[in-house]
């Protein structure tokens, strides 16, 4: 069965130069396991397409059930140079919340 990340997590995003980091926080332990399994850097790259131009690294913060995605080249040159309306990446996380994921682990 397919759900959206938003069904099991909330999040926040921000900027550091041309890097946008996106934090996702699972609502329960079981949700955290699904996040860890399904929301891989490869899936995140597919979901954002050309909007993220550089590498995507994922870090885990298990005690608060959070994943942190560090997305390089995501802000059109960085907050101070960007032509994007969302030049600080404030709502990048909401696009990730819409990603469809499989909860059966298949």
């Amino acid at each position: 069965m397919s759900i959206q990340v938003w069904d099991i997590a909330h999040g926040r995003s921000g900027d550091k130069g041309d890097i946008c980091n996106i934090g996702l926080i699972a609502r329960t332990e079981a949700d955290y396991e699904i996040l860890c399994r399904e929301v891989t850097p490869t899936r995140v790259r597919e979901h954002f397409g050309d909007l993220i131009k550089g590498d995507i690294d994922r870090y885990e913060l298990p005690n608060i059930k959070a994943l942190n995605f560090v997305c390089k080249g995501a802000l059109d040159g960085g907050g101070t140079l960007s032509l994007r309306s969302d030049h600080l990446g404030k709502v990048m996380y909401t696009w990730l919340l819409r990603m469809e994921i499989d909860i059966d682990g298949k």
């Binding site: 926040r12 900027d15 050309d50 913060l61 005690n63 560090v70 140079l81 032509l83 696009w95």
Partner: protein
């Protein structure tokens, strides 16, 4: 165990002063810490200073102090701020003037400097400090002529010294946001400057609270409609213990909430590798952090590890990078999207006719994809669209080029495809500054502290 209570007063230049006023009235704090500086702020402040040697600090410090300083002085609450920006001495001069006006006899105001290396760049280059861009590997020569500011993110040493000197108000330039909090911790608890485990823990706590309302329910996405009275949001009030653990709360009776969720969202904000959160005073490992609700609106923050501070300090250098020209215009049903396309073609052709120069352009549709752009959201359903707002933006080498964008969009009102509106008035042309992140050996930076008594 000894503890101190630190309040977050301001989280950015222009932030509301009301949370701090309420906090000073009701929260029984020992310190009020205020961060005014973002990456771009130093470029803006340096530009102001170059036009007027009495400017270059964040002017919001004066109305802020007007609102809180008498009460703070009366109750022994010390105020730590980086409002000095690129001109801490000028900032202090205004603060002194205000304290004199308010008759605050005996109040001590400290100024921390040493972060500004703009005038030292050539000497440092000669001494083999390369200032290579740590994100891109580019050499400084590429932008050397366009550099507008160069400030080192310095740690809390100067703040500790200022507090040892009896300061009631500490005005700094580009200290790290965390140093505003670590200074009082090191001073009060007597932590050694290489007590990495406690400094790391304190750094992690500082990160949780330094963005003010973002940790107490502001922007909370986990249940945004459950947040109580956001217009009266309380800012973090944090009890820090001498072992580096903390209990975060907020001003009693204020709006918002402090929950594991709200603190978690702030914790992941602007963090790269959570096991290596770098700062001038230490490296924090927050990857194993634990947050525990011990009472309503009280979160215990613990299990943060510390590691030695890096040998180098980060330099925030800015450089002039051109200008942005922008035009917005709206089309309505019928054929709203097709007309928007025709309007864009009209604008591009007119720009071509005036030999428009730009290095990059961007088209977004407000109300449809303006936050992400065409990279992820395809064009809308053209048939039944009620309206669409087009945003066209271009990076240009000069102000003159940038201003052409709006000028050439104005004829859309009379001469373009049917049904254009919402063009508005000429927007100001925004100058762009690039940020050039680089490093400098720590031992080349000396912090200086002066204390003035009224």
């Amino acid at each position: 165990m000894k503890s101190i209570k630190i309040g977050t007063g301001l989280a950015f230049w222009g932030d509301s002063i009301r949370p701090a006023v309420d906090m000073v009235e009701r929260a029984d704090i020992d310190y009020l810490c205020c961060d005014h500086l973002a990456e771009l702020t130093m470029s803006i402040l340096n530009k102001q200073k170059s036009r007027n040697p009495d400017l270059g600090y964040t002017t919001d410090i004066i109305p802020f102090l007007r609102g809180v300083v008498e009460k703070c002085y009366e109750h022994g609450i010390k105020i730590i701020s980086n409002s000095g920006g690129s001109n801490p001495q000028a900032c202090t001069a205004q603060v002194v003037k205000l304290c004199n006006e308010l008759g605050l006899k005996g109040i001590k105001i400290a100024t921390v400097t040493g972060d500004d290396i703009l005038d030292r760049i050539d000497n440092l280059l000669a001494d083999d400090v390369a200032f290579t861009n740590i994100d891109t590997g580019q050499k400084l020569e590429e932008i050397r002529e366009r550099v507008t500011h160069a400030n080192v993110y310095i740690g809390c040493d100067g703040i500790v010294e200022a507090l040892q000197g009896g300061a009631d108000i500490v005005i700094c330039g580009r200290v790290t946001d965390a140093a505003l909090y670590l200074g009082p911790m090191r001073y009060e608890f007597g932590w050694a400057e290489d007590d990495w485990s406690r400094l790391g823990a304190g750094l992690g706590v500082a990160h949780c609270v330094e963005c003010g309302g973002q940790a107490t329910g502001g922007l909370y996405s986990g249940g945004w409609n459950d947040m109580d009275r956001l217009p009266s949001l309380g800012y973090p009030v944090t009890t820090i213990f001498e072992n580096g653990e903390a209990i975060m709360s907020k001003t009693p009776g204020s709006g918002g909430a402090v929950t594991v969720g709200t603190v978690s969202e702030q914790l992941v904000y602007e963090v790269l590798d959570p096991s290596n959160y770098l700062s001038a005073d230490a490296v924090a490992d927050v990857s194993q952090i634990k947050l525990e609700e011990i009472a309503p609106d009280q979160i215990r923050i613990y299990n943060i590890m510390g590691k030695p501070a890096p040998d180098t300090l980060k330099v925030n250098m800015g450089y002039r990078a051109g200008f942005v020209g922008e035009a917005n215009f709206t089309y309505t049903w019928p054929d709203a999207f097709a007309k928007a396309q025709a309007g864009l073609s009209f604008l591009k052709e007119r720009l071509r006719q005036v030999n428009f120069q730009s290095s990059d352009t961007r088209i977004e549709y407000i109300g449809h994809n303006s936050m992400w752009g065409p990279e992820v959201i395809p064009p809308p359903d053209a048939e039944n669209l009620d309206e669409i707002v087009v945003r066209f933006a271009a990076r240009c080498p000069t102000k003159e080029e940038a201003s052409k964008v709006f000028t050439e969009s104005v004829p859309l009102y009379n001469n373009g495809p049917a049904g254009a509106s919402g063009i508005g008035t000429r927007p100001p042309i925004k100058e762009l500054y690039g940020i050039w992140p680089c490093l400098i050996p720590r031992d080349l930076i000396l912090t200086r502290v002066t204390v003035e008594e009224i």
